[in-house]
């Protein structure tokens, strides 16, 4: 009976779980790194990397760029295309503005 489950449900559920995993990893990395390097530190030890405080660089800027790359990989390679059912418009306009 379960075999009859629509593929969109199955792939959707799996992708959702992976996304939750990405969110947890990113969150833990970002908060722990920032906390370790950037909370309750003496100002004399301030280190700047390209003008960012060290903690911002490693805790926010770098993971941000990494997440953009992951988003790209995830969007391009991982998410399964699927037929969403009827009611699809016959033709898509070029700019993809809808309508």
């Amino acid at each position: 009976m379960r075999d009859n489950t629509d593929p969109v449900v199955r792939t959707g559920r799996r992708e959702a779980l992976i996304v939750v995993g990405i969110w947890l990893t990113a969150g833990m990395w970002s908060v722990t790194t920032s906390y370790r390097l950037g909370y309750n530190r003496p100002v004399e030890e301030l280190k700047l990397i390209w003008g960012f405080p060290e903690w911002t660089f490693w805790g926010v800027a770098v993971p941000w760029v990494v997440c953009v790359i992951i988003s790209w990989i995830f969007g391009v390679l991982f998410v399964h295309d699927a037929d969403l059912g009827e009611e699809l418009p016959e033709e898509a306009d070029e700019l993809g503005l809808g309508g």
Partner: protein, 634 residues
């Protein structure tokens, strides 16, 4: 002359700053006409399919760009509230907004594909529609639409006020550069102090008023009480009327602004419906991207590089500016002590610094931004309108590049701002417009670029309002009128009903805003997180859990909403001791265990919905199969 306090000096500086002149006004007029034109274009597209899906859902044809650039929470706050936070608290705001690094993936990757499918299977046009058919329960649909109508009304009515004030400030010579969304009817700014000087109010009186700069008052009586503590009886008699007049935020210009703003928004939304809202939103997002890029390079150039900017900003402030939990200028700053006694209402205990982002809140916000983006009704509707899965996939990386290009540069711009403009007492909301003026002052056509950046909040407010208008009117027409009053209504009648409902909502918003209610702002803050806490868990269950029942979804909605509401009420009514964490606002929630109410709301909501689903008998297998199984079998 006599020694003027620093607030006044800053006000004097403001007067000599390069002026916007007509730049902002021109940009606004361009914005208005562009939006009307977009509305007319959308109108033509809308006529292609059936009225209901065309007008309220753009015939489910949203492409990747439209989906990516409009589905996320972007409002006037992006260009006013957020920059002001960076300017005030420093680098720590980068961690505050940190959740945005995954927002594109979570926003589209968790519910996207499945929700788009489900909305087709249920033939849903609105979010309540989807719940109603997915669970086979009209009652659930009704509850969902009541929640949405409630939340969105509050959020929208307050946006009208913001729009009107932006229009007012664009008027050359109004002397104000931007608008605080949190604006109270009475407030004194540095500019109103210099205006008072022109009114020949004695310098001694103006000097005494300095501590009031940046504080808002809900009623004239509150302002008077405060004035009485600062001025002598004679001074009060002599200058009170002039002070009250200058601190009035809502005058005739405000009413003109309100009229023009409302007419424009209602007009183009009426013409083009959902698509008009989406397209103007997109138009504004693209413009902003370029605006921010130009401003980024200009400010880095002015500040002599980011390294230099950070060090100068640090010198202008204190260690908290580059470290967690954030800079507190009332604690570390130069004016820390003197203000402490006279500052009204937001009483300041100079013994303890405010922790803008303690560890608990840093973790909270990683949940708040991500999950409120997934669960807010406005994003759910956009997903329902998406064209196909290819579009959803592309939106993921389009948005991630866009966000990286907007938020990180905005942070950098405001850090440069703190380096170039050391202090902006009571006017930190103006940091982006001020940087725009400063950075473009030597350029040919600079005032137009500055004007465009000044007009950005207006565009943001306009597109937010129009998308709320669509959701509200679809709620009234589809979920109430068509479902409960006249199920047999013909398309022509529905069209008329949609137009009437939009004009009605617009008219109510105008009436409410002629003299805005003081506590409206509190409800927006609550509505924004509340609506996501209400719908997040039920939406996830609807998509992925076969065993979910009507009672479970209902319990989830009510549990989430009431948890958030009660935590906000506790804070707003000041039933709990003040917690010195988070943003300094007049409306603070109660942070139970120092965690944001949204997190508690979602937690309670999931417990309620899972528990209730398991307690009630399983849903009808035929219905579940229709929603979850391959279509050939049904």
């Amino acid at each position: 002359m006599i020694n003027l306090p620093s607030a006044l000096l800053a006000a004097g500086e403001a007067a000599t700053m390069p002026s916007v002149g007509y730049g902002a006004l021109i940009a606004l007029v361009v914005f208005i006409f562009a939006s009307l034109w977009i509305g007319a274009l959308a109108n033509r597209k809308t006529r292609e399919g059936s009225f209901m899906t065309g007008f309220f859902l753009g015939n489910r044809g949203l492409g990747a760009w439209a989906l990516a650039l409009t589905a996320t929470v972007q409002s006037g706050g992006t260009f006013m509230g957020f920059p002001s936070l960076v300017y005030t608290h420093g680098w720590i705001v980068a961690l505050w907004i940190g959740g945005y690094i995954v927002v594109p993936i979570t926003g589209f990757g968790i519910l996207g594909k499945r929700l788009a499918q489900l909305s087709r299977r249920t033939e849903a046009i609105t979010v309540p529609d989807l719940f109603r058919t997915r669970f086979g329960s009209p009652a659930l649909g009704l509850v969902a639409s009541l929640f949405i109508l409630l939340y969105l009304s509050f959020m929208m009515f307050a946006q009208f006020k913001a729009g009107a004030i932006v229009m007012k400030t664009a008027w050359p010579g109004s002397g104000v550069l931007s608008v605080n969304e949190d604006q109270k009817p009475f407030a004194l700014s540095g500019n109103s102090l210099s205006a008072l000087k022109e009114d020949r109010v004695p310098d001694a009186v103006i000097e005494k008023l300095a501590p009031l700069v940046g504080h808002g008052f809900s009623t004239e009586r509150d302002l008077n009480t405060q004035l009485k503590t600062l001025l002598t009886a004679d001074e009060l008699v002599e200058s009170k009327d002039r002070i009250v007049k200058r601190s009035k935020q809502l005058d005739r210009l405000y009413l003109y602004g309100l009229a023009i703003f409302s007419l424009t928004v209602v007009a183009y939304t009426l013409m083009g419906g959902f698509l008009a809202a989406v397209w103007t939103d997109m138009f504004q997002s693209v413009l902003m991207f370029f605006g921010v890029m130009v401003l980024l390079f200009a400010s880095l150039y002015q500040a002599g590089g980011l390294d230099n900017a950070t060090r100068t900003a640090l010198k202008n402030t204190g260690p908290g500016y580059v470290y967690g939990p954030g800079y507190d200028d009332r604690f570390e700053g130069p004016k820390a002590a003197p203000n402490a006694k006279t500052a009204p209402r937001m009483a300041y205990d100079a013994e303890v610094p405010r922790q803008f982002l303690p560890l608990s809140l840093a973790l909270s916000f990683f949940c708040v931004w991500v999950w409120s983006g997934v669960g807010s009704p406005a994003s759910l509707v956009r997903l329902m309108a998406s064209q196909n899965t290819h579009v959803i996939r592309r939106s993921i990386y389009l948005l991630s590049v866009y966000n990286l290009g907007i938020y990180l540069p905005l942070i950098v711009i405001c850090i440069c701002g703190r380096a170039l403009i050391p202090e902006l007492p009571g006017q930190t909301d103006e940091i982006v417009p001020r940087m725009a003026l400063l950075a473009t002052k030597d350029w040919p056509g600079g005032s137009l670029i500055a004007g465009m950046i000044l007009a950005a909040p207006f565009g943001a407010v306009m597109s937010t309002v129009s998308s709320y208008l669509v959701v509200l009117s679809s709620g009234l027409v589809r979920d109430i009128y068509q479902r409960f009053i006249r199920p047999q209504a013909a398309p022509g009648e529905l069209r008329k009903a949609a137009y009437i409902s939009m004009i009605f909502v617009g008219a109510v918003a105008v009436v409410v805003n002629i003299s805005p209610v003081a506590y409206l702002q509190a409800f927006i803050v609550f509505s924004a997180t509340g609506s996501a806490a209400t719908f997040l868990i039920p939406a996830i269950m609807a998509c992925y859990w076969r065993r979910a029942t009507v009672a479970g979804a209902l319990a989830g909605m009510i549990g989430g909403a009431s948890t958030v509401l009660s935590l906000y009420l506790l804070g707003i009514l000041e039933k709990t001791p003040e917690q010195r964490i988070g943003q300094l606002t007049s409306f603070r929630p109660y942070y139970l265990c120092e965690v944001d109410p949204f997190v508690w709301g979602v937690l309670v909501s999931s417990l309620c919905s899972i528990g209730m689903s398991l307690l009630t008998s399983p849903p009808d297998e035929a219905l579940v199969s229709k929603m979850f199984d391959k279509e050939a079998t049904s």
